[in-house]
Structure formats: structure tokens, C-alpha cells
Symmetry: C2
Subunit: 233 residues, 2 copies
DNA sequence: TGTGACATATAAGTCTGACTTTTTCCGTCG
DNA sequence: CGACGGAAAAAGTCAGACTTATATGTCACA
């Protein structure tokens, strides 16, 4: 994660950001800089910097003679890692998790296909290592160790795709995977079929078989969708 | 687009942002707030607000006794609409356009599939209107009119998917489509095959045929990839 | 009664200067 | 050569005065 609370304005954001993204201030709510500054016991300069950041995330809009207005959810920069983290930490978590999982299901298969074409030898090796690590920890309630390798696996795929937009989703995917293990129902060992699929994806990428890598990854993401009951009737 | 230059700090950002994203300051470069303030002829308060915004975009990092350090490209918030606009406006444009087109090729087919399931009657009607508008302007060098309907079409698809992450890519897609018409080679009328595909997608969504909507949209995006010579050898 | 111009209050925006705090760098001493 | 400690540099913070845009209410006039 990003270093939290680096400076006073960071502390303010850590409180205001979650509050806004949690919908505590409905769209159209008006905040006054001076009041906020008093409430958080910081100077107006600090408060203004915090507002500027919220503004750059399109969470609020600051207008003269009006104040700081909360924007409707549809305008938020929902790809901002900070915003994602705030929402995952709040009441919106389930909804956010579903959105992100759907996004994964779109992006990761394509990324895997690209990885099969562009991955370096080193990345292939890394990928194989990750898959092996997943296999090694797939039994015996070693969920944490499994998670580490799972996250690393998907990160390598996204990086190896050679597309910067995909690569930057590594953190998001990590967040989703971690969330699944930590917050959702995850008592048992991971699904053996999923483990096998990861091994096969690593194989396909190593062999440069883009179509197969894409198809196998699609199966993985379909599994993730099903876990959240996002099915196709 | 967002209102540009709303306030002094906005003007500073309009200059600094493009400069940084264009790579004018290599990663690791150190800027000093005071010097920047002098250079832009603004007060330190204003300069600090600008730096805070750049920091929230992960373009720079501000540390005591060091200064404001430019972060490596790999850490930028490349999904920030502002960052995307800055990069599209600069030397990085071709590269950024390719990245975004690949992203489209991953997202839009899945979005179309979801739209086929979730689209309201109103959205279906809107979609049909857009497709008709595209057909009507597909001949006779009416590129601008065609573009308007093309953008609207893809925006409706993304919105109708019911996924907020997809919906927020509407602006990005609009930017890419507009860029193709305005900056890239686009002398002739649009490809008739592409126009037909859009009409068929509208059909499939109307009929709730998710698989077909996804497959047809995939064909559209493949076309977009081919235009930029991003092929699969 | 409606409509336009104008005055006013309000909250953000800006600037300045003084002060604090953290952190790096460097020189000295063991 | 390493540890300790001081000094300097840059960001961070604060307080107060001033400016500017603008929403809103008022009043005259049609």
C-alpha cells in the first residue's frame, strides 16, 4: 500500500475519503473548507490541499461562493487505487469486489494471451515458480502461502502482457485475491481444478500458445465469477 | 472534458502535468517547490496544491529535505483521465493510443455481453438509434457526424453493462475514437463491415443474445487493433 | 405581476511571512 | 573505520489579511 498519513493532509484524507466513498455524504452535499479545517483541527492550507486531492479524484467539486460539493458516484475516478482501497475498506466492499472481479474476467484472459507472445524467458521462469508454489501450498490449509504465489502469478501475467494499462491492474488483482482469502468464505483448501489451470497457463505461456493461455485464463476467471455468484443463466 | 485552468493551480498543472508525462523530467528528477513557485509566478500555497495533486496521481513524490521527485512511469496512475489526456496530447500519444486500444479489445466485448443481459428497453432503443445514425453517416465524408454516433454507441454499451468500472471507460473510448478520426489516417469513409457489425451488435443486445453480442464486438475491436497494426502473427 | 439591473453577502482563492520538523549530509572524535 | 552529533536544507504547518467570483435577494420599472 501507499504510505498512509504522510503529513496532516494525509490524515484528513484517510478520514474524509472513506466517508465520502462510503456514501456518508450523499451526492450534492456541500462541505465548507473552513468548517472541515476546524473539525479536523488543521489549518486551512492543509485542508485546501486535501480538498484539491479529493477534487482530482473527482469525488468533490469546489466552487466559489458555494463550497465543496460531493459529486455523484458515476463521476468518481473509480480506477484510482486510493479510491479502490477506500471502497474496499468500507460498506461498499462487496459491490466493489464484484465490479473488480468482472473487470478481471475481461482483462486477464487477454493479458495472458499477450503474455504468451511477449513474455521474456525470465518471466516464464518466474511464472512457473509461482505455479509450483501454488501447487506446493494447495493442501494443508496453507492459505497464506498459497495466496502469495497466486498474487505473484497474476502480477507476472499482467506485467508480461507488455501493456502498461494491464500492468497497473496488478495491485487491484492482488487486492481482490487477498480479499477473497481474508474476508470471504475460504475455509477449505483452494479448488484443485483452479490450481491445475494455473499450471497449464504457465505451460501455455512458456510455449507461446496465446490462444490456449487466453482460454485457460478465461476458465480461471469464470471460476472467480462463480464464487461470487455472478453467473450466466 | 474537465474545465481547464480552474484557478491558478489548474494552470500550473496544465503545464507541469504534460511536461512530466511527456518524460521531460526523467524519473528521479528532483524539483523544488519554491523554485517551481517562482518559475510559474505563483505563491507557495498554490504550488503546494498543484504538487499534492501530482502526488495523488503518483507522478511525483514529495519528501522532506529532498524535494519533489518524479516517479518512474510504471508507478503512474495511468487510468487517471487527466493523465490520459496529458499523454494523448503529448509525444507519448501513439503509444498511449495503442495501450488504450488493447484495453478496449479486452473490455468492450465483455461489456457488450453484459449489456445484452442487463440493458433496459430505453438503452436498447438508444443503441439502435446510434447504429442507425452511424449507417446514415457512413458515406459521403460525414466523418464528424459518424464519430458522434460511434462514440455514443460505445458509451451506451459500456453504461448498459451495469458495471461501474466499464462505464467509466466511456470517456477513454471516446478519446480513442475521436483521436482516430482527427489525428490518424481517416480520409475515407468508415469500413462498411464495421458499420454492419455495429448494427448487428445492437440487434444482439436487443435480443439478449450475450454470446453473439460479445463475439461481434470482439470483431469490432479486432478491426481497431488491425488499424494500428497490432496483429496476431 | 413579471423582469431586469444592481447591490450585498459569502465562501473559495491567493499571498505573505514566520515558524517547525524531518532528514540528509558531513565533519569530528573515539 | 565506524559511531555520534551538529548544521543545513527543504518540505510542512500555521495565522491573518486581502481578493475575487458568484449566488441570491432587492428594488425599480415595464
Amino acid at each position: 500500500m501507499t504510505t498512509p498519513g504522510r503529513g496532516l493532509h494525509g490524515h484528513v484524507l484517510d478520514t474524509l475519503g472513506p466517508a465520502i466513498t462510503a456514501g456518508e455524504y450523499p451526492p450534492g452535499s456541500v462541505l465548507r473548507t473552513d468548517e472541515l479545517a476546524q473539525h479536523f483541527e488543521v489549518s486551512r492550507s492543509v485542508m485546501r490541499e486535501a480538498v484539491r486531492v479529493l477534487e482530482s479524484m473527482h469525488l468533490v467539486e469546489s466552487r466559489r461562493r458555494v463550497g465543496v460539493t460531493v459529486r455523484p458516484k458515476a463521476e468518481w475516478n473509480v480506477y484510482d487505487p486510493q479510491v479502490i482501497r477506500w471502497r474496499l475498506a468500507g460498506a461498499d466492499r462487496p459491490h466493489q469486489l464484484r465490479s473488480l472481479t468482472v473487470l478481471r474476467s475481461a482483462v486477464e484472459p487477454v493479458a495472458a494471451g499477450l503474455a504468451a507472445r511477449h513474455a521474456t524467458a525470465e518471466q516464464c521462469a518466474e511464472l512457473t515458480q509461482c505455479a509450483l508454489g501454488m501447487v506446493a501450498n494447495s493442501r494443508g490449509h496453507k492459505l497464506e502461502e498459497y495466496l502469495v504465489h497466486d498474487i505473484a502469478f497474476h502480477r507476472v501475467i499482467l506485467n508480461a502482457s507488455g501493456n502498461e494499462m494491464f500492468a497497473r491492474l496488478g495491485d487491484v488483482v492482488a487486492e481482490v485475491l487477498a480479499g477473497r482469502t481474508h474476508h470471504e468464505v475460504m475455509f477449505e483448501d483452494p479448488d484443485p481444478a483452479a490450481v491445475t489451470l494455473h499450471v497449464q497457463v504457465a505451460e501455455a505461456v512458456r510455449e507461446g500458445d496465446a490462444t490456449r493461455a487466453e482460454e485457460l485464463t478465461r476458465e480461471i476467471t469464470v471460476g472467480a465469477l462463480q464464487e461470487l455468484d455472478i453467473l450466466a443463466p
